[in-house]
Symmetry: C2
Subunit: 370 residues, 2 copies
């Protein structure tokens, strides 16, 4: 096993880590104080093509759940997000920006409605648990805020549905995109959503009960062999091409949801009791000064984007690339950047200053890349 | 540079990262979404002896500051900690457990009082920023809660004082343990505290202004050459021997401060407006059922403790080692464990089940190890 991180209890293992190590993981990243596999034996490019054709098993336990329960649960969730959740139904998954009183982005989780008084926020990399706890304690809300023993396992790729139908039955097909249902596994009821951090289709099983982790991994692994299953992880090429954003990379608390193109996840034409709603409406009225865009750029395969790369139009910096990689399909580099308003039109010529010292010519693109 | 982590903006670089890379860093850990150097060219053991004799420069920017300002600043800080801060003076550093309403530990930062209405919490690895923000928003407190542009650089080891006196003058000697003063650097006033995550003495400069990072590193580096300065990082041998605890390792939100031996940092004989005070007093009245201890154990140098190792007395599990390493000075392994009440007496014989499959005999020890 890689000891590249000085492994310790502080960087939490997951219910699948033993399985992931047995499958040959070659390193980890850290998200929410927990291990996220980052590579197996194959290259990112090989994984990309495999993900588009077959099916992969991803340990995404680091998508920790913040469970909010009780009489004021809906009120607390709504208070944190500018997306109207009053129409949400049990079984819905909603992508919800989490903001503060200034409409600054604190996270971009998926909200799962389990009951009228029970929600899970499946979070990106910041301690929403502490934010929700603080709000609840400060306002004296009648809620419980906890991190339950729930560890998502993603089954991603075009063959995911067939694999899971074989294991859990035809009802898998009835689960619509961003909805969840239930399966029986080892005598337990487990939540399964049609969702995941790729554009290739697939599901996430929100396993309750860490002790079932190895069994669940093995069960899917065995059934997946006929579908050419492989261990995997969020694929940087596929993610960027698909315009899937990463909290901490494309956005931080210095940004608001409208800059990130989350307009359709912000309810602005109706009064809702969200703490940052007025601030967000004011931003909407004024219009944002920069917005997320794709950037296609040349100069051969770019290095790893470890720190932001300035994007210029002539002598003016108009943005910074926060994620980038060579796309073997498009045969150009694909990157993500907030771009200043005067320069964000699709087709705009830009120059990317990558960390290898090259000045790379490129163009602003729509998202997702096509 | 090590790409062991899939470096990206999400795992933030520090004002010193370029310098640290130039100094030959061999890998990083992640704390508070930020890089923490974990090793240079020498072994942990070589670094340990060096730290005890000379002076080291540590990039501990990951000790992020949560700045709390405004009319209700003292009220908010006191609300989060069971340590009475009413007597704190400007210039004081206080180790303060941060708890919730149940007295569960959420962090164990150092509090710096900069003014009657301005504090910094120099945090361990959890987003206290979001907790404090949530409390303030929920309760409608008149405070600002921000993460300022402050990046601590530690100068640790017995020669740290001489080095800094040479650079900044005799007034460095007047700074008492866990107090801070001010130095002038590059035309700016910078905060310097006699503190640090070692028992070898030393200081931490809380650099305001990231752009000064490389200059500060170089200035200390050059002045340190005559003191045999080396780049370093918190040393696992020295930390464990010194009984310095690590949030996420020895303690999590499943623990309370009294279990971690923080009695002297909890004010129980006076009424204070801390949200978890009643819960903590109830725990104190009942007495804790386990408490932090050292464990000295044999069987030759132990492997890296990546996940907790059970500690047994006969057939009863009485604790789990959460950090451990071979001490070349004591010539036994040193570990940290919460130990159940009936077995926590110093000298108690135990067996440690380390991850290499060995059963290692040992004894409960006081902390720090001597």
């Amino acid at each position: 096993m890689s000891d590249g991180l000085n492994m310790s209890r502080r960087i939490r293992r997951t219910p699948y880590t033993d399985s992931v190590e047995a499958a040959g993981v070659q390193g980890f990243s850290v998200v929410n104080h927990m291990l996220l596999p980052k590579a197996y034996a194959r290259t990112v490019e090989e994984d990309y093509w495999h993900l588009r054709e077959h099916v992969q098993l991803w340990d995404v336990s680091c998508q920790r759940q913040v469970q909010i329960t009780g009489k004021d649960a809906t009120r607390l969730v709504q208070w944190m997000t500018p997306r109207d959740i009053s129409g949400a139904k049990i079984g819905d998954c909603l992508y919800v920006p989490i903001i503060d009183q200034n409409a600054s982005l604190l996270n971009d989780p998926v909200l799962l409605k389990l009951a009228d008084d029970q929600y899970w926020l499946s979070i990106a990399d910041s301690d929403v648990l502490l934010y929700a706890k603080g709000l609840a304690l400060g306002a004296g809300l009648d809620v419980g805020v906890t991190e339950p023993d729930v560890s998502p396992l993603a089954i991603q790729g075009p063959k995911a549905e067939s694999l899971l139908v074989g294991l859990f039955g035809e009802k898998i097909r009835d689960i619509a995109f961003f909805k969840f249902g239930w399966i029986e596994f080892a005598g337990t009821q487990q939540l399964i959503a049609r969702s995941g951090y790729s554009r290739q289709g697939g599901f996430e099983i929100y396993l309750r009960g860490a002790k079932l982790g190895a069994d669940l991994w093995d069960t899917i692994w065995q059934a997946g062999k006929v579908y050419n299953i492989a261990p995997g992880c969020p694929n940087l090429i596929e993610r960027i091409e698909g315009g899937l954003l990463s909290y901490g990379n494309e956005m931080t608390s210095e940004n608001n949801p409208l800059e990130l193109g989350m307009d359709k996840f912000c309810t602005l034409n109706k009064s809702i009791d969200c703490m940052g709603h007025d601030a967000l409406k004011a931003i909407a009225t004024q219009g944002v000064s920069k917005q997320i865009r794709g950037v296609l750029f040349d100069g051969g395969p770019c290095p790893n984007c470890a720190k932001p790369w300035p994007v210029y139009v002539n002598d003016t910096q108009v943005g910074q690339i926060t994620s980038a990689i060579w796309s073997p399909r498009i045969e150009r580099n694909v990157g993500l950047s907030l771009i200043d308003k005067d320069y964000w039109s699709v087709g705009q010529s830009v120059t990317v200053h990558s960390s290898d010292g090259k000045l790379r010519t490129g163009n602003v693109s729509q998202l997702p890349f096509t």
